[in-house]
């Protein structure tokens, strides 16, 4: 499984000289499965470059949307394969009691926000609500689960052979909770990330910024690290950067995160700030020592009753 970050920013694209290294495009991750099948995780503005890089291929492509906030779907109408009749596009996303996935996405891909309507897309596009149970795409097993964020929001886990990728770009598992003390079954997103090879996780705010953004649906650096530690993720990439965070700020945040990870018992460069263009090959990277597993806190009597 190969993973490439095409957009690492949250909220709104933030292009400019001050964000040139970590990138200004909003959330999109490309995943090439072991049989060559391609998935796109979210369709922020980063998916535009993914589409351009594909050329005329592939004929079939799955887009897995975590939720429908604009920074996760705004690239859809600029995704070149969607405008080719030979493309078969399958868009997965969270169910909502209010309207179908197609109708909710059509609010964006319609006038006056868009020059084209969903029905006018020349590709063969279908919309599917993610099932509660695991399903398969090519050689991969896909799992989706609701996670703590504003509105219906999913995290994903993709298992392909011996490697696994967990993608939870918008997540506030520490809202009203102490991640160091909670039993694991009470931690949002835990099963998605348990022992995963690569965790791509929300790290929008520094610890100093978080108190002013409590309940906004995003994590502070220390929360993301605590989540990674509890789930025993082997490698963690902090993602969904705040648009105000410059390259210099993110450099500093990475140093802080790696220091914090070392303080939690981690080793090496197992924690990094995701940068647009970063590529990961799984499981080849797993042969390197990435992190020392850190035992979870002893469960309370309630957890064992």
């Amino acid at each position: 499984m190969k993973v490439k970050l095409w957009g690492t920013r949250g909220s709104i694209p933030a292009p400019g000289p001050e964000t040139i290294r970590y990138g200004g495009n909003t959330s999109c991750v490309g995943v090439t499965l072991s049989d060559g099948s391609l998935l796109a995780l979210d369709a922020g503005s980063g998916i535009r470059n993914l589409g351009l890089a594909l050329g005329g291929e592939p004929a079939r492509l799955h887009i897995l949307l975590t939720h429908l906030h604009l920074d996760h779907i705004q690239g859809l109408v600029f995704f070149a394969p969607a405008f080719r009749p030979q493309t078969e596009l399958v868009i997965w996303g969270p169910a909502s009691p209010e309207a179908s996935l197609r109708d909710r996405i059509a609010r964006y891909i319609s006038a006056p926000l868009s020059p084209v309507e969903v029905r006018e897309l020349p590709c063969d596009v279908s919309f599917r609500h993610c099932p509660e149970t695991e399903w398969e795409i090519g050689p991969a097993r896909i799992r989706a689960a609701s996670v703590a964020h504003r509105g219906p929001t999913l995290g994903y886990r993709i298992d392909d052979g011996d490697s696994s990728l967990t993608y939870i770009p918008d997540h506030e598992p520490a809202l009203g909770a102490d991640l160091d003390q909670l039993e694991e079954d009470w931690i949002s997103g835990f099963e998605l990330a348990r022992d995963t090879s690569l965790l791509i996780h929300d790290g929008q705010y520094s610890d100093a910024e978080y108190p002013d953004h409590l309940g906004w649906g995003h994590s502070a650096t220390s929360h993301a690290l605590a989540f990674a530690r509890r789930t025993a993720a082997r490698r963690t990439v902090l993602f969904h950067h705040d648009p105000l965070h410059s390259d210099a700020f993110l450099d500093q945040l990475e140093a802080t995160a790696q220091e914090g990870w070392a303080g939690l018992g981690g080793v090496g460069k197992a924690v990094a700030i995701g940068a647009e263009g970063d590529e990961f090959e799984l499981p080849a990277d797993l042969r390197r020592p990435l992190a020392t597993p850190v035992p979870a806190p002893a469960p309370s009597p309630a957890a064992t009753a």
Partner: protein, 138 residues
């Protein structure tokens, strides 16, 4: 250990921050959490008790009607909410571990999601406390 549904996780997080006694059961009626305020009311912290099956928790703390008769488990608001999927309200007495009886009003409502019922939450409001003999304290 299977992952709790997000709705129960969020409910627990909210309840943990409340000073109003609150109980949480899963879709099977298992008592999966109550908050500190409820622990004070019952005389036992949830961490000491742990999860309790539906056959047990209904009788652990009473409850009793105004005549002191035990209220059948099936008639409790929390059970109605999780079983029938609609809110329920009742007044009754509960007995804490120190033997005191508390008269409470309880409102329960189901936690319904796109995937069906995930459980129910009940908020308790103590209206009076009596000693172990059923008399109000002097």
């Amino acid at each position: 250990m299977s992952q709790k549904p997000l709705e129960l996780i969020l409910a627990r997080n909210l309840m943990s921050a409340l000073s109003t006694p609150a109980f949480l059961v899963d879709e099977g009626g298992v008592l999966v959490f109550y908050n500190e305020a409820a622990g004070i009311l019952l005389g036992k912290r949830f961490e000491e008790l742990g999860t309790v099956g539906p056959d047990e928790w209904g009788s652990m703390f009473g409850p009793f009607d105004q005549r002191g008769e035990p209220i059948p488990y099936d008639e409790l608001p929390l059970v109605t909410a999780v079983r029938d999927g609609h809110p329920a309200h009742a007044n009754f007495d509960i007995r804490s571990t120190d033997g005191h009886h508390h008269t409470v009003e309880a409102s329960a409502f189901p936690i319904l999601t796109a995937h069906g019922s995930q459980g129910a939450i009940a908020i308790f409001w103590p209206t009076a406390q009596m000693n172990g003999n059923g008399a109000a304290p002097a």
